[in-house]
Symmetry: none
Subunit: 219 residues, 4 copies
Amino acid sequence: MLTRVSAPVRPRRTQVERRQESERALLVAAAEIIAERGITGASLASISERAGTSRGLPTHHFGTKDALVSQVARVAQDRIVAETVAALERAHRDVDDLSAFELVRATVDIYLELFEHPSADERALIVMWGSTFPSESSPEGMVEADHRAYDHWAELITRGQVEGSIRSDVEPRVAGIVLQGLLRGIAAILLSEPDRTYALRARQTVDTFLAAALAPPAG
Amino acid sequence: MLTRVSAPVRPRRTQVERRQESERALLVAAAEIIAERGITGASLASISERAGTSRGLPTHHFGTKDALVSQVARVAQDRIVAETVAALERAHRDVDDLSAFELVRATVDIYLELFEHPSADERALIVMWGSTFPSESSPEGMVEADHRAYDHWAELITRGQVEGSIRSDVEPRVAGIVLQGLLRGIAAILLSEPDRTYALRARQTVDTFLAAALAPPAG
Amino acid sequence: MLTRVSAPVRPRRTQVERRQESERALLVAAAEIIAERGITGASLASISERAGTSRGLPTHHFGTKDALVSQVARVAQDRIVAETVAALERAHRDVDDLSAFELVRATVDIYLELFEHPSADERALIVMWGSTFPSESSPEGMVEADHRAYDHWAELITRGQVEGSIRSDVEPRVAGIVLQGLLRGIAAILLSEPDRTYALRARQTVDTFLAAALAPPAG
Amino acid sequence: MLTRVSAPVRPRRTQVERRQESERALLVAAAEIIAERGITGASLASISERAGTSRGLPTHHFGTKDALVSQVARVAQDRIVAETVAALERAHRDVDDLSAFELVRATVDIYLELFEHPSADERALIVMWGSTFPSESSPEGMVEADHRAYDHWAELITRGQVEGSIRSDVEPRVAGIVLQGLLRGIAAILLSEPDRTYALRARQTVDTFLAAALAPPAG
DNA sequence: TATGAATGAGAATTCATTCAT
DNA sequence: AATGAATGAATTCTCATTCAT
């Protein structure tokens, strides 16, 4: 090494690097195409083409299309959670000081804002959610993620009820389902509604509604 | 046998009747299979088989699969609207006497109740809604139906704002989108959530939230 | 009909006829290609091409490749049995008058003669037999056919033992297995041995051996 | 660690040894998988996996799959011959004192006994024999081995005819083919017949038949 | 009008082989 | 020498659509 006077600026990629790189490219391409054409419309051929790899690579890396799709779902969810958390911390320096009431509203607000200018991940996630509607659907990984979301809302709401910032006459888990349904439904409309003049104002209205809906009834 | 010498007095069904009958059978079968397996999972072969017709009939009657699917969507929507109206009239003898505030809540309630025990039509509609999420999807009839729904909510809300039963600080069209998103999102969860213990109580919670959210702010 | 002055010489084929015709063509082509390249070497594409049909027809008619192969096996076996019986009756006008000892020898002789100038069916059958050797092999329909053959030989041998024309110190079922193994083994050599100068004389030698082997021991 | 400053006194294995070891492991794994799934069913990936080596090693060592398969065939044949000879010597201390008649019978007996409890090599050999049945198959080593077997039998039989222990009215080469066909056919049945109750008694019956078939005709 | 036979494009998947590391 | 990432041709199977009957 020492004797190599003019070492190459960038050493050849290792096998591991090559693998990670192509895997990432495939996941990105898959998310994009799923967002555009749906799961069934996203053929492995189209994915590999967009990723700039050979036709055989997707199955070579992920085994089956289902496994690739699951991985896309997992990555998208993780990234969306991370983005939400990051945005929340940007908006409210002291997240810990917020009441649960304020935290629910802030989270909803940020989540909807995310879907006003959705990335491929966000769009893919909603598309994949839509593809779980058939009763015999299989798309793995979505159900558990949904349950985690319900749980998250339920915890927050319980906290709010304990501290008195959220009305106590609703069951937290049920309210969580309602919240999640609201978010997903509006996100879906934001994505698929061609005329977004009104849809883009939904966030404000949701906050208005939510403030009134969650607050403990007067007297 | 002996009487068959002369032509049968009354043929069982006319050609037109038979055509309508098989067309109906195909639409029913299509809705069921779409609800189970999604649009791409619903092959014309499986539809014709369940309808008890020949393999060639779907294309023969509807021309293309897309046309058949659009027809299923149209029929399902019409039927759901009709069912909602009928249920509304059953529940409230004097619908015309209800305030817009009450009418919105009643309609939402009935709509969600419908999806607690969904027929193939309802399930198919949600599945088809889900398949419009990809950005390049060809909705064919779903978009207009959604717009009609937004308009309907917007009218109701405007009326409520005029008569003072609904808070006036929200834009009716935007509130309509929010309402529709809420309904669709919860309906979708009702269909795809395996554990329905909490989901089945969403209707009550939605009403509680909605009452607080729509009412004019005190003071 | 009567008014049709110049009726077409050959009326258009009915649907059923078309189906039977293409099915037969596919089976013939499949047997040929299996005989040439083995089961795995017989791609559906090559079969449909030789049959002069479209690429999709084999699966369209038979569902899966396995089903097609099973059908080829069944047809080949039936035809070989029929040919053997026919040849037997041609060679011995009064088959019923033959002793079991003579009948076994005659059948073996005719069977081997068949494989001296094998048709595609015969060659395909041996090839398919060969593909059952792997322990996890699936090729259906071969096992039952083999058992029928064992049973047939066992019956014949039992009859010979009863009438005294065949040695009685062997178990008929076991002897049947030995006979069938002998036939299959020699048939396989007849097919795959490039230099047939000696192989073509195996039939005579087998008869010499068999005569001595089956006859009741002197004294 | 400290002692590693100087080179290790005795490296565990030389490069050559390691190479031979992995080569052997690959051949064993290949024979097993060929016995289970046939030649086409034995993918290089599955072989390398079972051998516990890297995916690339089979091609690296043997160049092509065909070369690996040929090598498996060669090794299996050599080993089977060696085993037969060894068993023969175990059973008959003075092989040289046996008449050719007795030697043929003994060899056949031992060969069949071998296939009553076949090792992977034996099973692989029969499977590979079966895969030579297609007319366009590329046997690669099977044909020569078969010829050696024919020659071996022919020599033995000639000797028997000279010494008077074997009937003289058969052509030795032809009788060799018949013998080899018999052995292979029964071996194949022993491997592929699920119900071995009768097959396991074939050896005894073959010997009975053979004794009568080979003996010079009385008078 | 209705049937179902036939087509052929497109899908996922397998796999021997090549090649950079 | 050995690894395993990447390739791309080949395979089976699905299915909307066309068309002869």
